[in-house]
Symmetry: C2
Subunit: 462 residues, 2 copies
């Protein structure tokens, strides 16, 4: 007879760790590094702290590594430390605000991978400025909860604030090295205000001191934008509303809906503004959700987002590639499923970008929420736009042959990642459209530049 069973979230990702970027011992090194670095960067720049991050990766046995990462971030409050590092789907980044973290999974997967390859617990030291808390823990997979092996509290006379995480795990650093370095170089492009120091197992140092003094101000949490919000979301918001809340009041829980817009929307839909929202029927909720898709609301205001900005993109591309010409386009904020996002695109041409690429492949540099994306580019929504939506010949360009580099950054309060390992971005229509519009604008600018350059060259030749 058939055995039915319930799996915990930790069991699911332990069973299916390839989904989270732990496909093999080489990929595991990359994933452990990037998950820890992204946690440290979030702990800094989401709180207006200029990141100073130290990472060391040491060889402790034949195929065994130990990673140690130390940041100057905001720290973890003591009552949350064990769950933050020991419970899958537990985290602080489930808000409507741009951050690298989004799943409440990454740190736990790195710890879990250490546990399954070496049996060793993770060591965490953290402080929010008061006492320093040291915790040694492992993950109870069946129950999806932390097992605390040891706890210690230290006084903090210098008010140190930040987090240190140390994990022993098996992995192949030699095969992973190029990708790890590429990740760090790409991070440098996106984050000129961050200092990252990396000591690798061969005692090589990757030193990336901050290039700029100032930092963009952190994004702030926003309300959901009405565009693309679905029935489940609206029902959740109705459930969490007080009993007396009217439809008119309820609509103002959405971004860009003030009392005037709310009244116009309710009138347009033919509903009663004073109706208690908890009394709405399923059909009326469906009508509201349909209306959200077709009514013209102001677009999102972008305050929950943190784009790179044209200056950072130009500086980064120039320092890495020294191109002859760069066209940058920043799209206005858009939304999908109620989440706002901004696409920034650039085309870099010539200079240090040479066309004897040999491989006849598109040169594509992808970022999402300032995270470098290195794997699985062929299925990324950006690659679909490049290969299916842009008529490059129309601009006199061929991205597979010309000395051309394509740069895409998606800054979103939720990035529609296709994998739990954040390898690539899903083919979401609203996102695809914004990338398409951004690249067409960049291509037009590049075409203009190249025609002008050609005319000048022809002029000189006479």
């Amino acid at each position: 007879s058939t055995k039915f069973k319930q799996l915990s979230p930790a069991e699911f990702f332990y069973n299916n760790r390839s989904m989270a970027g732990f496909d093999n011992p080489t990929r595991a090194v990359y994933t452990v590094m990037r998950e820890l670095i992204e946690n440290s960067l979030d702990a800094c720049d989401a709180h207006g702290i200029k990141p100073l991050i130290y990472v060391s990766l040491k060889r402790v046995a034949a195929d065994e590594l130990e990673v140690l990462i130390a940041d100057n971030g905001v720290g973890v409050p003591s009552r949350y430390i064990a769950d933050a590092f020991g419970r899958v789907f537990f985290g602080s980044k489930y808000t409507i605000r741009q951050s690298r973290g989004t799943f409440g999974l990454g740190g736990k997967m790195a710890i879990l991978y250490g546990q399954l390859t070496t049996g060793e617990p993770v060591n965490v030291a953290t402080s929010i400025g008061s006492d320093i808390h040291l915790v040694k823990l492992s993950i109870d997979i069946k129950l999806n909860q932390p097992i605390v092996h040891q706890k210690k509290i230290l006084h903090n006379p210098n008010s140190y604030r930040g987090t240190t995480v140390s994990i022993k795990f098996k992995g192949d650093y030699v095969s992973a090295r190029n990708r790890v370095i590429r990740y760090l170089r790409m991070t440098r492009i996106a984050l000129p205000y961050a200092s990252i120091i990396f000591f690798d197992p061969e005692n090589q140092v990757f030193l990336a001191p901050a290039l700029t003094e100032s930092m963009p101000k952190p994004p702030v949490e926003s309300k959901p934008h009405p565009y693309g919000v679905d029935i489940i979301k609206v029902k959740e918001m109705v459930d969490s509303s007080k009993r007396e809340v009217t439809l008119l009041k309820f609509l103002q829980k959405f971004s860009r809906i003030g009392v005037t817009t709310a009244s116009r929307f309710v009138t347009w839909l033919g509903l009663d503004p004073n109706r208690p929202v908890k009394k709405l029927s399923d059909d009326e909720i469906k009508k509201i959700v349909e209306g959200f898709k077709s009514f013209t609301f102001l677009p999102p205001d972008g305050s929950s987002l943190s784009p790179l900005g044209e200056q950072t993109i130009r500086t980064g591309l120039t320092s890495e590639y020294n191109p002859e010409f760069i066209s940058v386009t920043t799209r206005p904020p858009s939304a999908y499923e109620g989440f706002s996002f901004i696409v920034e695109a650039a085309l870099a041409y010539g200079g240090g970008i040479n066309s004897e690429n040999g491989s006849n492949e598109v040169r594509l540099l992808r970022f999402a929420n300032k995270i470098p994306l290195i794997y699985d580019s062929s299925n990324d929504v950006a690659m679909k736009v490049i290969e299916e939506d842009i008529d490059w010949a129309n601009y006199g360009l061929d991205p597979k042959v010309d000395p051309l580099l394509i740069f895409i950054h998606i800054a979103a309060s939720k990035v529609p990642f296709k994998t739990a390992g954040k390898e690539y971005v899903a083919d979401r229509e609203e996102v695809r459209r914004e990338i398409r519009l951004a690249l067409r604008k960049c291509a037009r600018d590049l075409k203009t530049y190249l025609s002008k350059k050609k005319r000048e060259q022809n002029f000189h030749m006479r």
Copy 2:
């Protein structure tokens, strides 16, 4: 101050539905269809039932569809119906045995997608041969549990057995149609013993009656194979062992370890066979896991697997493509992480496969546990083998230019899928190696055939 939160599994996949194959309204149609069909096929061929599956997809409003699927499978026992269809990470396929289902997620995602696009609950009718149970339910996302709207029990005078599921959801069938039909055609190649009838929204019928009378016998649950088992897995098995179980007895819980092999292994490791396994230290467990990787055990016996078999592959490829020549290779059973798997590969050449492909792309037909894989082939482990591991020139072949079709089937007690939508298989070293060896053998056979053919042609020309 930072808000920490716990997400339920339903909330996680509701937030990140692109990961489960619900990227956009076109992909959603494909995913709903394939998740329901795979559930019905599992309910049949895992239980020795010749599948007879009826699927209809009707248009009920402008962009709203209703899918109805009816199978003659084993049915769902009444006490499990609500959780089977209403609780994420709940299912009957968490065993060491080949099945299409593996996550306890697919059916729930289809239901959830219907719920978020239409607000409608799912209707399920099922019987294991006694009463017929009708259940109308929706999913409580926050609590990850079913909300039963209505329940009914009907008498079953004809002992009907099987399951019917009906979901209303929004989707773009017109854009999805080609992929849905391709999925059905590929299913036909793999399952000559199944009858599938599909009525689409345009009143077209896809009729695929069974081509063969006999069915392969269902795979049986097996113990884990020692090769590749990790520390967490061993500790779990130790925890669930009775207190008096010795190390010698414990080792026999693994496939291919009888008392003789267990003694040899314990002696080789230098441990005491009579030691109560619960008294092993962490270091000793680690030593056992390391030993499992290097000790020579008999390979898995394949009884938990259900490969297609050379005959089915030849028949299927012949009926679809009528090639001039087919070479088929079936690798012996192998293992990773304790799970056994078999790779079957084929190269089909010429005949109905023409080389004016135009697109200069590899023709690759992928299956995993008899499931057709249609999306994201570029990152699939099979494509990595084809593009990086096989020196095609060595065999006088060029898969991008020649009239060549590459067929890969991975039959596994756990397929290392990279995505929750089962789009492609992760780059797992043991799996990559087996595909590589299988394709090299096929390539050698094809090379031999082509040389022989060329010699014969040269002979005739004299």
